[in-house]
Subunit: 302 residues, 4 copies
């Protein structure tokens, strides 16, 4: 069965109505829950797209892969002094481990870790927001990508949990800039609006479909790319990361906007978007679609 | 560079004296800390061995892969009602998550999870110890493999932590047999003595170097094998699993006897043995050797 | 209003049917839930009793006061090297703090602490069960008090949580005897059958209604008695100790058999029994009766 | 022995140099560590004072008794819907229980609880800071008592842990006002400067040395006063509360400024000040002095 047939079957069979649109960010809750898009890009740059694959949505936590790439490029191995690479085993926003582990977040994909990464970018870049935007535009080969300032503002006004996290990190000395500056940057990165197409293209360098990894001065060695991929596999889906590896078997990253991007190194990248989330914060249709896709295609890293 | 040259370089450069032989099991503490063996088996069944690769050692937690395979084959998907697939984020013997999560261990490779798996085998097999032994002998194609009853006895006499775990599981209704029977089986499985060679061969079916997976009635589908591999990658190295995925990028399993077995699906299996452990309970030389091996060979699943 | 009128009002107004008889010990679950007894003994040895005050019931955790008294008398201040005096802030059987705090239980009234106390008695007494029995008989001035071996046996067969605790303590080196011997003694102490009358009399020396504290060689100084009282106030009611101090304002101890004994030093002791428990494991009527009693009598230590 | 002789002995024998002045608040760290004052006030209003009993210091957490009294008077029993009365069993600033217990702090004397109490005062008072000041001045019969705005400012600039707590509370809906307003009030209450004499007098109504409890519209019934006292005994000394009850046996409250005030209801109040703290944040000399005082005087609530 070829990819096109598989994706059509996946698209049809994943149309569950289970799940619930994220409501903790007011601006996100207004999204049409029926939206559903898939975009596949293969190693020979064949593209298959279905549904709302050209519609931009809030990528939220998927942005953590972009900021980690920048910080890893800037700091090299020193970055691991400030954030770990282990799965957290707890809810994505848990403050508990932070207290027990003296302010070193478990990994860069839990909120606490992403806040530390944001702090690193603030310390090392003159125009961190613009630099991030340019980097993502280059990765996705699309200059139209932008922040959604309404979303960023909406999160800022209600983001007490993240404010709690960043202050706890600061209390442990693991935030160097002003807490409000770090939050401002963090909410902007989460507010990036991208389409399934843009995401699938932006992750091609992580899947080694294009080489080398060198975009606007953000350079990662092959080894560094592999390591980021390993973190995606271990930690990319909050405390459902084991479940995703178990059922799908691909590195990837999800966001509470309903987007998921995943890939098989050297083979393909795939981005899915559907806003209704399960209790762990991952897109219900997205998880189902990717599980079905690897089952039908018989392809996974294992 | 070919595998032979790479492995010689790996063998030489990994000879650190860091670490400490496991001392919590009296019988294990007497081992010669200088032991060091490597065995590689490739997809075309080329074999490369160095050092003490033919000497049997206590495989300890590596046995959890074998018992999980048996229980998964026996119960199918129902097994996941009694044990999860998420990394624990805590020390390998943590009883805390068990209390918070009502007696469902995070995954089958922490001790609590392996005790539940042992309980499943006791419920479903007439001669669980003999059946396990036969299964492992078939996997490794070597009838000489046996339990080391002195090790099993030694663990039983000092294994208060595991006794605590199994009673906590029983208090939550997740152990069906007598606690002492479960512990007896568990200590026997951990006491299996195997060489690097035997381990590398025994893991070939997990790496899909041989197919199908059908040994003495223990049958696993391709999909089931992939899922066990995903658990190995996420959870195979205690709370250093993320670090191992990050630095080595292979599914695998370690034991406090100092053994590590890892593999790249469809490419090779590799077993390493060196008794000195780091603070997380993984072989220092073993971790170093495997990191170096994937770096030099440029091969990993990412 | 005199004590007699107050107690009659208390008895009438506390007759709620809320709560649930303890069911985790099979032998306890058969008790008649309507049982209700009160016994008050004043400093001038006036006695007021109501309802089932002469009927013996399983004192369960109230026994922890007796064993602590013996161990404190035997070891003096050294006892605090093996068990603390702080409230636990967690469920009475929590194993979590034990793991974080290296096997030193928070206080002698959580199960883990009582198991350490039992272990101390086993190490220091030739006939620990008989010695405990004699001590309690002397305190209560009643030779008929005995263990209920059916209850002890019933607990032993289902007490996996306590077995988990004692093994965890042993794993941390804070149990010196065999785990099964410690559990056997512990289940016997909990199985002591006593009436409200016997309890009220037995606690008179703690309330300094009789002095000195010297029973069968178990001698406690005034200062030591005060300290045991302080632990009762801080830790006597599981994780409802703060609530009890807040609403009742007396040192005391409860058990899952439905008994509560409390006292105002130099004034009175009072024992209440009613088997239906709230979610924290304390007698619903008992808590209500004591709150009402101190409100109406205007007497508390504050 | 009379109180005067006892206090002189206490003063002399408590002069240890152990401990460390609080350094996490820069303005507090400059204090002379040799300061030592004691002030005793008896039921017949005899006053005994020694050392630096007339020198004002930062009362810090002792202020939590004053704000709790105001909030309890304003809300009555409804206050317990927003804060508990159980000891926390954890470090005074632990955010962990907050996460597990959905934003309801264990008691009003841990920082999280005091922040909720501050929020209540902000919601119910027009001039909360002035009202608190007036209330404390009335209690202590001294109009000269004031905030120390340098201390308040110093804490605000470095108080990331408290900022983390208040945002976590807000994320759980248990803070109604702006986080920064709550922190501003909280830091002002902690910055109150008082002498041992002022504190001993201010606590006389809690010890029922004066009645009724009615100061500037803050009215507490006898029962309410007793309940506040019970919380002081259970929770007044961070996670050393059990130890204090065990060794001293009095309700009281300590602060990281080195002050401790304690009392025996109907008998006396006593305030001690010495800036060097133990690891739990309580004054070393203060704890020692009070233990010695109750031992020598033979007086405690037990």
């Amino acid at each position: 069965m070829d990819y096109t047939s598989i994706l059509h079957q996946v698209f049809d069979e994943s149309k569950t109505d289970d799940g619930k649109v994220a409501d903790y960010i007011p601006e996100l809750s207004g999204i049409n829950p029926a939206k559903f898009g898939i975009y596949l890009q293969t190693k020979d740059f064949k593209k298959i797209e279905l549904g709302d694959s050209q519609e931009a949505f809030s990528i939220q936590s998927i942005s953590k892969v972009f900021t980690l790439s920048m910080a890893f490029s800037l700091l090299g191995e020193k970055i691991w002094q400030r954030v770990g690479v282990e799965p957290s085993g707890s809810r994505f926003n848990s403050i508990i481990q932070l207290e027990y582990e003296n302010g070193i977040p478990r990994n860069p994909f839990i909120n606490a870790g992403a806040l530390v990464v944001a702090d690193i970018l603030l310390s090392h870049l003159k125009n961190p927001k613009q630099d991030l935007l340019t980097f993502v535009q280059e990765l996705a080969q699309d200059k139209s990508i932008d922040f959604d300032s309404r979303i960023a503002q909406s999160e800022k006004e209600t983001g007490f949990h993240n404010a709690s996290l960043v202050n706890m990190l600061k209390a442990h000395g693991n935030i160097k800039n002003n807490c409000s500056d770090v939050l401002d940057f963090y909410y902007h990165q989460c507010s990036l609006n991208m389409t399934c197409q843009q995401l699938a293209i932006a992750f091609s360098p992580f899947a080694s479909l294009t080489e080398p990894f060198d975009f606007e001065g953000i350079i990662l060695s092959k080894s560094q790319v592999k390591r980021i991929n390993a973190i995606m596999l271990s930690c990319g889906f909050y405390d459902e990361s084991g479940e995703f590896a178990f059922k799908v078997g691909l590195p990837g990253k999800s966001g509470v906007g309903g987007g998921i991007v995943a890939f098989q190194p050297h083979q393909y990248t795939i981005a899915v978007w559907s806003p209704k989330l399960n209790q762990k914060g991952n897109s219900v249709r997205g998880m189902k679609a990717l599980e079905l896709f690897t089952t039908l295609s018989g392809q996974s890293i294992f």
